[in-house]
């Protein structure tokens, strides 16, 4: 019985010399490789460009509580009211960019709480006015409603004064419900530029 011995060189053996591949590669293939080196594009290196971005930030707002809303001594079973134009009204100042428009809003308490206790005194019916000067009464004061949606005002001269009045109501509260003492809460005013 006769047989044939066939030798098939492995890729490894050809690579080991490097010669086999080169020899096995047709001339056409070599041209294609050469051509490929020419045609295959590589992305060009990026060029850089810069521009400047800038802005001028205007003066930030500063809100200050200047004076407390003072009801003084109030009797029981009585309504006591302080108008915003009263010298005892609460006062805030807002300073910022001259001529800019601002929006102001308030967080208004509904009760005053006895200092050192838990008893409360109702406070409501807030009123307000805005003026160019302090104290109130030295110039016209334009009324607004503090509980309403944000109120816009213009910072003429870079400052505005906001005055707050309200009323406390002690009707129907006996001595146990409303013992003698100081009652207090905080009115918070927020101001922001409108961008106008």
């Amino acid at each position: 019985m006769y047989g044939l011995s066939v030798h098939s060189p492995t890729r490894t053996s050809r690579r080991s010399t490097g010669r086999g591949v080169r020899e096995g590669m047709s001339r056409v293939a070599r041209w294609l490789v050469a051509l490929g080196l020419v045609l295959l594009p590589s992305r060009a290196m990026a060029q850089l460009g810069n521009i400047t971005a800038e802005t001028t930030v205007l003066q930030p707002l500063q809100v200050s509580g200047i004076w407390s809303l003072e009801f003084g001594t109030v009797p029981r079973n009585r309504v006591t009211t302080i108008a915003p134009t009263n010298i005892f009204s609460g006062a805030f100042s807002v300073t910022g960019q001259t001529g800019a428009q601002i929006a102001i809003s308030f967080t208004l308490p509904t009760t005053l709480v006895r200092v050192g206790g838990t008893q409360t005194m109702p406070i409501n019916t807030y009123t307000g006015c805005v003026a160019a000067t302090y104290p109130v009464g030295t110039n016209p004061c334009t009324t607004f409603t503090p509980s309403a949606a944000p109120t816009n005002a213009t910072l003429v001269g870079g400052v505005r004064w906001f005055y707050i009045g309200a009323r406390v109501d002690t009707r129907g509260l006996n001595a146990a419900q409303l013992p003698n003492g100081s009652y207090r809460s905080f009115i918070v005013m927020t101001a922001a530029y409108t961008g106008n």
């Binding site: 590589s42 990026a46 850089l48 400047t52 800038e54 802005t55 001028t56 930030v57 930030p60 530029y193």
Partner: protein, 176 residues
């Protein structure tokens, strides 16, 4: 092996031998035309003007008066990949900033590009949104104008003063 077989093998050997031709050589020319390199030239500053603390301000990339602009100059109608390394830029106080806190302001960049003319004349412009991934556009007449807009909101306690930053744009030929 009889004579006829020997003759056939000899003939075959001759044929095979004849098929192994003498190596020939030939030449081809490899050539390339190198296009003019891209240049990027700043044309216009992205100008937000006055901004209020706590208030958002936006300048559209198509805002002809206030958007920033970079002119990309290259070859003919070649395709160019335009990108921005970052779509967020920090503006820092220049000189003295007063009345608050001079923290850097973050600018969120928007961009588009106009081929052919910075005036966005209909017919010669192709606006597109540019992101960090970039976008490919063909030059028109060797030009591409990248317009830069953005938005920023200074902090409500931002110190007053001038703030400035740099928006970077990259451009490269795609090979097309």
């Amino acid at each position: 092996m009889n004579r006829s077989i020997k003759l056939s093998l000899a003939t075959l050997a001759l044929v095979v031998t004849a098929g192994t031709a003498q190596a020939q050589s030939g030449n081809v020319t490899a050539e390339a035309t190198v296009l003019s390199p891209l240049t990027l030239t700043p044309i216009r500053t992205l100008q937000f003007g006055n901004t209020f603390p706590g208030v958002l301000k936006t300048v559209a990339a198509t805002d002809a008066a206030n958007s920033g602009a970079i002119q990309v100059i290259g070859s003919g109608t070649s395709e160019v990949a335009v990108s921005a390394p970052s779509m967020t830029v920090t503006l820092a106080c220049v000189g003295t900033c007063t009345g608050g806190v001079a923290t850097p302001i973050t600018l969120n960049v928007s961009a588009s590009a106009l081929a052919g003319g910075i005036d966005a004349t209909p017919g010669n412009s192709t606006a597109f949104t540019l992101g960090t991934a970039g976008a490919n556009r063909n030059l028109v007449g060797g030009n591409l104008f990248v317009l830069i807009g953005g938005s920023l909101t200074p902090a409500s306690n931002q110190a007053a003063g001038l703030y400035r930053g740099t928006v970077q744009i990259n451009a490269a030929y795609t090979g097309l």
